[in-house]
Structures are given as C-alpha cells and as structure tokens.
C-alpha cells in the first residue's frame, strides 16, 4: 500500500481551479445551506457564511457581460499587446460571472456584448484563456 498522499486531494483551491480550466471547465462551490453558487476559490459561502460547500465543475461556456481592449498592457502581456480583450462573462444557466483573456480581439466590432465564449485553458503566462464561439 502506498503512503503517497493523493495529489488531487492536496491541491489548493486555485490549483484545482486551474486544473478544471485546463479541461475547459469552471470550478464552482455550491453552498449546501443556502444554495448560492460562487467560484471555487472562495472558502466560505459569501451569502450565509456556511462552510459546507459542494465543489462542482461547470461547463466553461457563457456570454460576454463586459470587456475592454487596452492600448497599454501590463508587463508579461506585451506579446499579445493590443490584440486581446479582458472579458467578464456569465456562465450559461447560472448567475456566476468569471473573467479571463480573449486573444485575437482587436476592435470592439470583434466582440459585441452577449457574444458566446468558452474556457480554453489556464495559460501559465496569460491566466484564464477564452475562445470565442461563432
């Protein structure tokens, strides 16, 4: 019998969030007391403060709520420079909003509000990477 701990169980909440994103999913926590759904990196229910949370991977697809395209990017984003949008999107069938980076967007005309996007991966350089759906 192995004495090695199960790596999956020792992941921090952020590591688990990243692992889910790499499968195209968003890790969420559902409060078993009040039913509130929040991102999986929050440790206690932000509504009722309950500690019993059910971790669930939600499909990483949703609609753009808002976004921006920046002329000056922070360090580390120079390579994608002026051709990405920082996006807040609402996951389908939930009220949960998540933010990420959508590379290849150069003008607001490329991304009307309500556009469909989905999680592609968690990029070590760029964070939560999104893909635009047609």
């Amino acid at each position: 019998m192995s004495s090695q701990p199960n790596r999956q169980q020792t992941l921090s909440s952020r590591e688990k969030f990243i692992a889910s994103a790499n499968k195209g999913k968003i890790l969420s926590n559902k409060c078993l007391k009040c039913g509130h759904i929040m991102v999986g990196t929050i440790y206690y229910c932000e509504r009722c403060h309950g500690s019993e949370l059910q971790s669930t991977e939600l499909e990483g697809s949703g609609k753009v709520v808002t976004y921006t395209i920046q002329a000056v990017a922070p360090e580390g984003f120079n390579e994608v420079g002026k051709s990405y949008a920082w996006v807040v999107f609402r996951l389908d069938n939930t009220e949960l909003k998540v933010s990420g980076i959508l590379i290849g967007i150069k003008s607001p005309a490329d991304l009307p509000l309500g556009s469909k996007v989905k999680v592609e991966s968690f990029d070590p350089k760029y964070g939560l990477k999104l893909q635009k759906l047609q």
């Binding site: 920082w86 933010s99 607001p108 964070g127």
Partner: protein, 386 residues
C-alpha cells in the same frame, strides 16, 4: 460616547512629477500641516502614514522614518496600504484613535511617488492592486477594469462616451484654478473624444494621471482644537465599506457596494442626508467612476448622473458641486495621498484658503475615496466651524 474629532491644520505639496525623494515629499506636506495647525511636532502623539509603492523609491516601513525626520523619533507611527483608497482609509484609523480617546493630536499623512517608474511599470504595479488571480493575471490594467465597468454601465443605463467626457471637462475647469493641480489645462468634450484610446471605451482624457505628491492633516479632539484659538473643521461622519475584490464577483457592475455602505454609515453618524451636502470630493480615477460615485453617494438616482453632469448640476455653481479641487482627474492621483488631499481641499474650502475655486456658502462637505475598483472605500463628512 466618543470624542469629537477636528481637522486643525492641512498641507499639501504640488501634485505631479516631483524630483525629490519620497521622504522629502512627505516631510514637505507634514511641515505645512504642522505650521497650518500652529502646533509643534512635540504635540503629535502618533503618526498615520498611507503609501502604496514606497518600495519603488527604496523605502518601506515609512512611518518611523518620517517621524524620525520630523524630530519625534519616539512617537509611534503606522504605515497603511489600501491601494488608491489608502489615504482615506488611513484617515479613518487616525480619526478612530482620536475618537476613542487614545490620542489628543495626530498627524495623518499620505504620500506617493510613482512617476519615476514609467508607464509600463506603473501600469503593472497598479495591476497588483486588483484581485490578481482573476484580473491583473489575466491581462487587465486599471484603465481596463474601469473601461469594462464603463462598457457595462453604458449598456445598462443608455449612457455614452460623450456623457463621460463632460466629467473630464468639468474637473479640468476646476483644476485650472488649483495651483497645486497636476494637469492644469482647459479641455473640451471634443478634446476628450479625440484623445487616444487607453482602454476602450476610455480615452486618455477619461483617465487620471499617474502623480507624485503628499498631503497631510493634523487631527485632534475638540478640546485641543478649541484651545488652539484657530479655525478648524469638524469630522461629523465616518464610514467604511467593502466590495468583492474582483469585478466578476459583483451582482451589479454599475454600482460599488463599498461606497454605498460607507456613505450610509457616514450619513447616519452625521444625522444628515445627501441633500445636506454642499459639495463633495469624490474618487474620479476615471470619468465613469465619478458617474457611479455620485449615484452611489445618493446625489442622483441610478442611471441619471450622466444627464445631470451634462446639465451642469455638478459644476462649482451647480446643484451639488463635485470635485471643486479638480479631482483625481485634474488635480492628480498620488494614490497614497489622494484621500488625504481631499480632506486638505475641504479644510481649505472651509478656512478661506481655496481662492477662486471656493464653493459659495459651503458648510457641510463629503469626501469619498476607494481602493482598486472599489474593493475598499471610506466616506467622511465635515462641518465648517465658525
């Protein structure tokens, strides 16, 4: 029963690109405040210092360095950081310690030096003030975060880019009268709309500048203030609030819960309503922020501020003058100092030192300042004492 708290003196450096070391900037404002209050450094029983990026000028643990250089090395100091809201949040702690009776007289000083780092580094450093895992780490800058808020606001409340431009024009109109303002330049709506896009839909003139500067006030209890035989201003309301750190965590992106909660506390403590405020200094880091602030502070119904600004309601002679100092937009935004600078403006307005930008018949004023996209905020209300 808590003690009444008063502002007995105030001082500020010019805001802008300053060549001096951060400690020299801090000391200049402190000396002005001490002189304005007519006290000696020996009267100061504690120092509260707000700063964010001291590390870029090779100084953290700033409070004891400042106290030592004021000749009071055995007086305790505390350095506080809350991003762009550091000044008002530090002011609240200074206020609370006087109110609680721990001290009779303290120095509340905010200081920042950032312009030596350049645009890309400054943009990066500011992004560390966001919820980095969800925002800065995904490529969001601060102009970008507020641009996202602006896009959502415009879509929700049918406002447009021209509405935002009116905020910038009004604040520059005020800032031109402020000798310590960073950007003293008259601009038109057309200038704003034609300025380069920084983060769509925000353009250069929708954004405050990166500024260096320091502002300081002397806070004391009422007995100390009365004994001084000098003009002073009373703090009659104080509130603190918080919001989800990341924009994604907010149910409604067009309101900032920390502002609403802090304002409600401050109004309740002062026993007044928004209608009683004669003018306000609010956190206009970007034009959209001022639109949202003045709704969240209760001056206008949600979704109506843009129209009110267009109609002149927030100009110096309007229904509720907003940012007579020029605000962050024109006066500048040295982030550790900004919240204190707002109190300096109130002190100058109420003690006859505001010159041409004086708001007529002003007796009650409000200051509002927040950190990041409003993750933390403080609101204070002040009363002129005759």
């Amino acid at each position: 029963m808590t003690n009444r708290v008063c502002v007995l003196g105030a001082g500020s450096t010019r805001y802008g690109k300053l060549d001096e070391n951060i400690i020299e900037i801090a000391l200049a404002a402190s000396r002005d405040a001490i002189s304005s209050a007519g006290i000696s450094p020996g009267d100061i029983q504690a120092g509260y210092i707000s700063n964010v990026f001291g590390v870029t000028d090779k100084q953290v643990h700033m409070a004891p360095v400042i106290m030592s250089n004021l000749g009071i090395p055995y007086v305790p100091g505390l350095t506080i950081e809350s991003a762009c809201g550091s000044g008002s949040i530090m002011f609240r702690e200074a206020y609370a310690n006087i109110a609680a009776g721990f001290y009779d007289c303290v120095l509340a000083l905010g200081v920042e030096k950032i312009t030596h780092t350049g645009t890309i580094q400054s943009t990066t450093l500011f992004s560390y003030c966001s919820d980095f895992f969800y925002e800065g780490g995904n490529g969001a800058s601060f102009p970008g975060l507020f641009a996202s808020i602006a896009r959502n606001y415009m879509a929700t409340h049918k406002a447009n880019e021209e509405d935002l431009a009116y905020v910038a024009v009004k604040n520059h109109e005020n800032g031109i009268l402020n000798p310590k303002a960073h950007v003293r330049k008259e601009i038109t709506v057309d200038d704003v709309l034609k300025s380069p896009v920084v983060a769509s839909p925000l353009k250069l003139y929708d954004c405050c500048p990166f500024s260096d500067g320091a502002s300081a006030v002397i806070l004391c209890n009422e007995a100390f203030a009365k004994k001084s035989n000098r003009q002073y201003v009373e703090v009659i309301g104080s509130g603190r609030g918080a919001s989800p750190a990341a924009v994604q965590g907010r149910d409604d992106i067009t309101t900032i819960p920390s502002t609403v909660n802090a304002a409600n506390q401050a109004y309740k403590m002062a026993g007044i309503t928004p209608k009683d405020i004669d003018f306000a200094e609010v956190h206009d880091c970007f034009t959209i922020a001022e639109i949202i602030d003045i709704e969240d502070l209760g001056f206008f119904q949600k979704g109506t501020a843009a129209r009110a600004v267009r109609e002149g309601a927030t100009r110096r002679n309007g229904e509720i003058p907003i940012n007579p100092s020029g605000g962050l937009k024109s006066k500048g935004h040295p982030i550790g100092a900004t919240g204190v600078g707002q109190v300096v403006e109130v002190f100058e307005q109420f003690t006859g030192k505001a010159g041409e930008r004086t708001v007529k018949n002003g007796e009650i004023a409000l200051t509002h300042n927040f950190g990041a996209t409003g993750a933390s905020a403080a609101v204070h209300i002040f009363k002129k004492v005759e």
